[in-house]
């Protein structure tokens, strides 16, 4: 990034190629297919505009996802989208839906789709923490830094997210195998 700020355009190509796919998925999982392109482009334009003011305070990846996170939150606010906080109710709904329509789920979705669906239903903070670990490859400490929270909170969010996804996946697996 410093090299790009100094005028080396090829340095940006390297950065982009390295981070474009995980970042794209990070945005996609949180904002949906209809918004991902615009938001993704907007995030990279912010990176381009910040080239002269960039200071090395943390890893570039942490800074990039912090930028992306803020843009996504801004998107939520602009569109008056309330992130789901009551994860218990949501998860129950997902489970009920899965249980209520086991045959349909079995036909329509494989396990991956089920997982993606479960991720989409996660509370925003937990989904964010999970995606930061899975897509960006950030450690718990880095997730805490990116989200501006302490280590324990980041760890807790991540644990909750995994537990809920596991709970979601168990009935689906049972449905797929045909076990009761």
């Amino acid at each position: 990034m410093l090299s790009y700020g100094a005028g080396n355009a090829d340095a940006f190509d390297t950065l982009y190629q390295r981070h474009k796919t995980p970042l794209y998925r990070f945005v996609l999982r949180q904002c949906g297919q209809e918004n991902v392109d615009a938001l993704f482009q907007d995030i990279w334009l912010k990176v381009i505009n910040a080239r002269n003011d960039y200071q090395v305070k943390a890893k570039f990846k942490t800074w990039l996802y912090h930028l992306a996170r803020n843009r996504i939150i801004d998107h939520y606010r602009r569109n008056s989208i309330r992130p789901i906080d009551n994860h218990e109710d949501e998860l129950n709904t997902v489970a009920d839906t899965t249980i209520a329509q086991p045959e349909k789920q079995l036909q329509k979705q494989n396990q991956h789709e089920t997982l993606l669906d479960a991720i989409a239903k996660l509370p925003r903070e937990q989904r964010e923490a999970f995606l930061l670990r899975e897509e960006a490859g950030l450690s718990v400490e880095q997730i805490a830094e990116t989200c501006g929270i302490n280590f324990e909170t980041a760890k807790s969010r991540l644990r909750y997210a995994i537990n809920k996804l596991r709970q979601q996946l168990v009935p689906a697996e049972e449905d797929n195998t045909g076990e009761p």
Binding site: D13, T21, Q41, L115, R166
Partner: protein
């Protein structure tokens, strides 16, 4: 990381194949390259403008943006104030003594004859000023004569009026005089006498002023003639003497002047 976490992670990554579209990639990369290129172009343009001969830096547009300009300006103002202004004042003070002032102004300034003589000795009082002085003196003489005449007439009138009033008072009111009411008449007589003495004094003063002015003017003239003789300008001196004799026929001329002009 537990087995559940590993399982979920591997399951998530299994079919995770979404990538940004190529058009989006191109748009972002082009934007990044354009930003760098435009910035470098601006930088180059700025550099070429700066290197161009006669190019002024934008900051230099302001007259006091450069510190040296401000310093030079302040120094110039100080030089003008400290050096040139006193010099100009000195020149102005010297100027009146070096140049011949206008005659009317000079006459009004010169209250005493001594100053005029001084100027004459310095040779700064020219012939024109002398003639002006002469005409002014003649005018003064005439005015003083007229004043004298009017004073005399007033005196005569007062004496004429005093004579008829005194006689009836003396003849018709002897009782009043004897009864002590003559004090007012005495005071009247005293005031008349005082008035007379004042008028006499005024006439004497006027006569003194007249004669002193004539003598002084004649002296000045003669001194001027003497100076012309000393300077070797005998012709002009002779003309001046002729005029002097016309103006002052009774005034005695020094023999040395006559001798030097007759040579």
């Amino acid at each position: 990381m537990s087995t559940d976490e590993e399982k979920i992670s591997s399951l998530y990554q299994q079919g995770n194949n979404e990538t940004p579209p190529g058009q989006l990639d191109d748009a972002i990369l082009n934007a990044a390259h354009d930003a760098v290129n435009s910035a470098s172009l601006e930088h180059k343009t700025r550099d070429t403008h700066a290197k161009r001969p006669g190019h002024k830096h934008p900051k230099a547009k302001s007259p006091f943006s450069g510190s040296w300009l401000a310093t030079v300006s302040i120094a110039a103002v100080l030089i003008i104030t400290v050096i040139l202004v006193p010099l100009m004042e000195q020149e102005l003070q010297q100027a009146p003594s070096e140049t011949t002032p206008p005659i009317t102004g000079l006459d009004s300034k010169l209250d005493t004859s001594d100053e005029k003589i001084k100027l004459l000795r310095e040779g700064k009082y020219e012939q024109e000023s002398v003639s002006k002085l002469k005409s002014e003196t003649a005018r003064k003489e005439q005015s003083q004569k007229a004043k004298k005449r009017s004073l005399m007439k007033t005196q005569e009138r007062q004496s004429d009026q005093a004579a008829p009033t005194a006689t009836p008072m003396a003849t018709s009111m002897p009782a009043l005089m004897s009864t002590g009411k003559t004090a007012s008449n005495f005071s009247k007589a005293e005031s008349d006498a005082e008035e007379k003495s004042i008028v006499d004094n005024l006439v004497e003063d006027a006569a003194e002023v007249e004669t002193s002015a004539v003598i002084m003017t004649a002296e000045l003239w003669l001194e001027k003639i003497q100076r012309l003789i000393d300077a070797g300008n005998l012709k002009l001196a002779a003309q001046e003497l002729d005029e002097f004799k016309k103006q002052y026929p009774n005034e005695e001329v020094e023999q040395s002047i006559i001798d030097s002009l007759n040579r």
